[in-house]
Amino acid sequence: MKKLNLLLSILLVASMVLLGACSSKSSGNSDEKEITFMFRGGEDEKTAYTAAIKKFEEQHEGVKVKIINTDADQYSTKLSAAVSGGNVPDVFYLDSGSIANYVDNGIIRDITEDVEKADFDLNSLWQFGVDIYRYDGDTSGKGALYGLPKDVGPFALGYNKDMFEKAGIPIPDKDKAYTWDEFLKVSQDLTQDTDGDGEVDQWASGFNATWSLQSFAYSNGASFLNEAGDKVTVDTPEFAKSLQFFSDLSNKYNTTPNSSQAETLDTYQRWMNGELAFFPVGPWDMSTYAKLDFEYDLMPWPSGDAGKSVAYVGSLGLVVSEMTQYPELATELAIYLSADEEAQQTLLDAQVQIPNLVDMAEEWASDTESVPSNKQEFLDIVQDYGVPYPTFATYNSQWLDEFWTNITPVVQGKKTAEEYLKEIQPKMQKLLDEANEQAKMSK
């Protein structure tokens, strides 16, 4: 009997521990401080961060960093699970667009003071990359600091230099963007049947609307959203003109492969085969593009009526949990991961990102010998003409996804831009209103 009672109570305790493990932090050894760092990324990031973390541990006695790495696809699901389970990692990656949400829900920590206290100059990082992690409880982009950039990802436009030379067309000016007319003219000249079999086998471009349309629209003075973030503004003539131009490149002027395909995989392959003149290039592409058979370089995006290039720039952040036991230490780790010179050098050597440190990036960009020679374009986007993704400051991305989900007929030339925008605006507005409503409720 006694034995049994014992057994029963053991079982009871065991199940309680099992339950408890979900909510309580593993404290481990009492004199050893453990911080967890959750991230996603490839081999290069793992190598770079493992080294940086090792150095961090050496400098901080009795501190152990537990690394949790997941697949890129699984990351957001895993993070949501960790958050709803009350088991938030001390330091983790968070998309810049989710900052406001996580702040409103009290999940991430205001690190303004800790960063100030730390032996670290915030100005050594890109201002864009820092400001994007500010939030004043109302507007994103200003106020207290809630994160540091893990990277900044400027989305530049690349071109196939060899193709221009072969066609006898002067290469694009790196300081002066094409107007749309110029871009169209060059596009038409470059779309050719090079082997004379009667079929076109070389095209100008083949952009995926999701990542490129923003450049066309914004440089034409249009936008997806008003400043206040409460009105969808796609139903303007400027927007219609840009979307129509985007669609016409395929359907009217035939300067892109097969009009029925906007799927990037196809155009991506064609670009790599040297069949396309223009293609977007992000810093993470550099390692792959280093192996191309042709020389490529970067240029500003063509600009519409507003007369200025616009490019998309993304950023993934390092944030600190509000529930962490060691806030200062965690902040320091975030700083390390964001700004450690060696780690940044490793990532730079792997050609997967541009350095977060401005000085280092500028030194890197001053080397115009290696491909792409106009590396400065990346920096220009970050410092000058880059804009965050339209959903950056909204509660969720559903209103914009609605736009992409139904855009196919326009891209395929079966519907005019004006018609589409008129019909999609109210639907997007409804979803945006819903999102804003929800944002208010969760504050």
């Binding site: 957001s76 949501s80 709803s84 829900n105 992409w404 989900t405 196919t408 969760s442």
Partner: protein, 329 residues
């Protein structure tokens, strides 16, 4: 996935089946009740109870508790990050006005066209393999390979095969002079494309079950039919088909339950739900709402509706099956 679920069900059943066994044990020592030597028995009884407790706790913890939790969540505006506010039936009201809810439900049901096709093919294959021709083992293996392969890997592979420019499918079609579409980017072809893949993937499993069922049919039935001069079509219709009916029933149920939950293929092959949401399934939409758009409450409401659907369909099927002569056991 479906088969796991079924094992689980069986597990629960056999669990409840333990009780009568314990009960009968209970009866035996009761006769010499006055012997009062039930100490040993009691002890054993308690140990048995512990063994039963383990799965019960697991079931409560990992099935009942999350289930109850999600029922509650469906009446709240929970965003998955923070506290829940009770909002009554708001989610359900919104749900029935949501065009994408109907669209994804329609898509999900549409995918089930693959079930009769798959079962028909599986039965045909099983009959063919049952003839005892040479190479049967080889083909059995060939057809079973997709079943044991990872669904994610298969989805990626088929996504390549369906690629408009370089895909295997279109290259083969081109040999016959047909210009294939960009399967997954085209509203009209994306669902058939996914159905084709699902049929291919599930074929081996159904085939194996059918094969086992066919082989267990007593030869004497066929001999008797031969004596009566039945042709092979009559033999199939009057012997084979009724004899494998329990298997058909089992497969239809598990396929429908699995069909309602189709997700991985969709998420990998059409990460944005396909052109104009033409490929999005209901579970995919639930996931999208809950984890991408921070509407966990709404997602929970949708999964609750999905649960009700599956439940009703299954009850109807069990009812229909009970009316027929053959049962699952």
């Amino acid at each position: 996935m479906a088969s796991h679920r079924c094992l689980l069900l069986k597990g629960v059943k056999s669990m409840s089946g333990i009780n009568p066994v314990v009960g009968t044990k209970d009866v035996k020592p009761k006769k010499p009740k006055k012997q009062k030597s039930s100490a040993l028995y009691k002890q054993e009884h308690r140990v048995a109870f512990l063994f039963v407790l383990a799965p019960v706790i697991g079931f409560l913890l990992f099935s009942v508790y999350p289930f109850a939790y999600s029922i509650y969540a469906s009446f709240t505006d929970w965003n998955g990050l923070n506290r829940m506010n009770f909002i009554g039936l708001d989610n359900f009201v919104k749900l029935f006005q949501d065009p994408y809810f109907y669209q994804t439900l329609y898509n999900t049901v549409f995918y089930m066209i693959g079930i009769p096709i798959g079962l028909g093919l599986a039965l045909l294959l099983a009959i063919a393999l049952n003839r005892g021709l040479r190479g049967t083992t080889f083909f059995r293996t060939v057809y079973y390979i997709p079943v044991i392969s990872s669904l994610a890997a298969i989805s990626i592979m088929w996504a390549w095969a369906y690629n408009g420019d370089f895909g295997l499918v279109n290259q083969v079609l081109e040999v016959f002079g047909i210009k294939g579409p960009n399967w997954l980017e085209n509203k009209a072809t994306v669902k058939p494309a996914i159905i084709l893949m699902a049929v291919w993937k599930g074929l081996g499993y159904s085939m194996l079950l059918y094969l086992a069922a066919i082989q267990s049919v007593s030869k004497s039935f066929y001999e008797a039919a031969d004596l009566d001069g039945a042709n092979s079509y009559q033999k199939f219709l009057n012997i084979t088909w009724p004899m494998v009916k329990p298997v058909t029933f089992f497969l239809v149920i598990t396929n429908i339950i699995g069909g309602f939950q189709i997700f991985t293929e969709i998420n990998i092959m059409t990460p944005t739900g396909g052109p104009e949401y033409s490929a999005a399934s209901i579970v995919w939409y639930v996931w999208q709402k809950a984890f991408k758009y921070y509407q966990m409450g709404y997602g929970s409401a949708m999964s609750l509706i999905l649960f009700v659907f599956i439940f009703i369909v299954t009850v109807i099927q069990f009812y229909l099956n009970r009316k027929s002569d053959y049962s699952l056991d």
